[in-house]
């Protein structure tokens, strides 16, 4: 397939791996902060292509994984209201809440529909005027513009039975928080799809303030290896900066139209991240001028008190201080078909990626 196969060429992978070995002398810990990268790194066996002194660690880049359990509990509470239809991306449906999952609620009769796009959720609202359609808006800057576009479309179409429950988040605050909280990192593989929307300048504070490099990377094996190579060169030369490896898609200025949509509909608020806690101005709430589409403001519901699972160490995995093999439940009690924690549910979750591509 075009724009895929040519980035998976075996010969080129080997030569790039050799080139990295040739240039790299200092030990390095490189973190990827995008779930798509976590998955690709495990799938293509990238760690085996690197010298032993380069360690790859996964960060808080899987939107499902960092989402608050209280959010899932709230979605479950909504799903129990007879007038509500929940529209959600498939990833969320099996994420454990405190006592249930959306999947279980669906089996016991709740109206929960899996959609691929918020546009499908709008169609649902149009066809079910007597119901309230609640769309579960999770994801980073990549996904949030779609939610913004959906809300604006709903307003234009007069679809006042359409609501978004926003848990949208932005990427820079956790990248800063990890370093502030003392996690040892020598460079970031920057999130390719987030940057498609935001551009590269929002990461400039990382080399400036923390003296760490950021290379915004594509998702094929050659992309990831080349990004690592660029980080190695920066590290060897003590010259951290923000670079774009994924230049076929990411422009320095990002996507102005998508950024406009974000700014029109959302405003930043403090938000909770699994593993990192509450981070200042890291989440996106719906602005009051669009509050008639804000599920939190328009539909009140009682939510059960949140209970976390004992034994799940998802939080420290998302911070890059533990790996799934440090978890006693991994692969035994907790598997993709019967997940205990969020990191095992989404394909992009570190536990799920390790399970699928490594230790069966």
């Amino acid at each position: 397939m075009q724009y895929i196969d040519e980035y998976r060429d075996k010969e080129k992978i080997i030569s790039l791996s050799n080139r990295i070995r040739f240039e790299s002398h200092k030990p390095m810990r490189i973190m990827e902060v995008c779930g798509g990268h976590t998955m690709a790194i495990q799938r293509f066996g990238i760690p085996t292509l690197l010298p032993d002194h380069i360690q790859l660690i996964s960060g808080p880049g899987c939107p499902v994984c960092v989402t608050d359990r209280a959010y899932i509990d709230k979605a479950i509470a909504y799903s129990r209201l007879p007038e509500v239809i929940i529209a959600t991306y498939g990833d969320l449906i099996r994420v454990p809440g405190s006592t249930s999952t959306l999947d279980r609620e669906k089996a016991s009769g709740a109206d929960i529909r899996i959609v691929f796009s918020i546009l499908d959720a709008l169609t649902l609202a149009k066809k079910n005027r007597k119901k309230k359609v609640v769309f579960l808006g999770i994801g980073f800057e990549t996904t949030a513009p779609g939610s913004a576009a959906g809300i604006i479309k709903a307003q234009m179409a007069g679809l006042f039975n359409f609501y978004v429950l926003s848990a949208h988040k932005i990427m820079p605050p956790p990248m800063a928080a990890l370093i502030d909280q003392g996690v040892k990192i020598d460079g970031y593989i920057g999130p390719g799809h987030v940057s498609t929307v935001t551009g590269s300048s929002m990461f400039e504070f990382i080399p400036e303030k923390y003296k760490l490099g950021v290379v915004i990377s594509g998702f094929e094996p050659l992309d990831i290896l080349q990004s690592i190579y660029m980080l190695v060169l920066q590290h060897e030369r003590n010259d951290p900066s923000v670079e774009i490896q994924y230049s076929r898609v990411v422009k320095p200025e990002g996507n102005p139209k998508a950024l406009e949509l974000l700014d029109e509909v959302f405003e930043l608020r403090d938000d909770w991240w699994r593993g990192l806690g509450v981070l200042t101005l890291s989440g996106m709430g719906i602005r009051s001028k669009y509050e008639e589409f804000d599920a939190e403001k328009m539909i009140s519901v009682d939510v059960e008190p949140t209970r976390e699972d004992k034994g799940c160490i998802c939080g420290s995995i998302l911070k890059g201080v533990s790996t799934p093999s440090d978890c006693k439940l991994f692969g035994k009690v907790c598997t993709p078909s019967d997940p205990v924690g969020a990191c095992m549910v989404s394909n992009e979750g570190t536990c799920a990626a390790f399970f699928r591509y490594k230790k069966h």
């Binding site: 397939m1 075009q2 724009y3 895929i4 040519e6 060429d9 010969e11 080129k12 080997i14 030569s15 790039l16 050799n18 080139r19 070995r21 040739f22 995008c34 779930g35 798509g36 880049g61 899987c62 939107p63 499902v64 991306y89 498939g90 990833d91 691929f116 796009s117 918020i118 546009l119 499908d120 999770i138 994801g139 980073f140 990549t142 996904t143 513009p145 779609g146 576009a149 799809h193 498609t196 929307v197 050659l222 992309d223 080349q226 490896q245 230049s247 076929r248 898609v249 990411v250 422009k251 996507n255 139209k257 998508a258 949509l261 989404s346 992009e348």
Partner: protein, 89 residues
């Protein structure tokens, strides 16, 4: 969920397009792109029903050219290793 894939534009109507990804077609909103800059046959990055960016063929070529460079560097190392009988990497 964060999966975003290169999709080829098959047809355009207003700000909606039909795109194909490895033979499977799906609808995509083009509202986040500059419509004057988009043609049938272009590749875009598709995410949850929205095209987020047009993929630049020139930039893709430039990246691929770099990979060629690494390959020739590698061949050079191979030759040197053979001639000197020492392992470099």
């Amino acid at each position: 969920m964060c999966l975003s894939i290169p999709a080829k534009i098959e047809s355009i109507e207003g700000d909606m397009a039909v795109c194909s990804v490895g033979g499977v077609t799906s609808n995509a909103s083009l509202q986040m792109l500059d419509l004057n800059d988009i043609q049938i046959g272009d590749f875009v990055l598709l995410h949850t029903g929205f095209a987020l960016q047009k993929i630049s063929p020139e930039e893709a070529e430039a990246t691929l050219a770099l990979f060629e460079e690494y390959e020739s560097f590698n061949e050079m190392l191979d030759v040197e290793e053979r001639e000197t009988g020492t392992r470099i990497v």
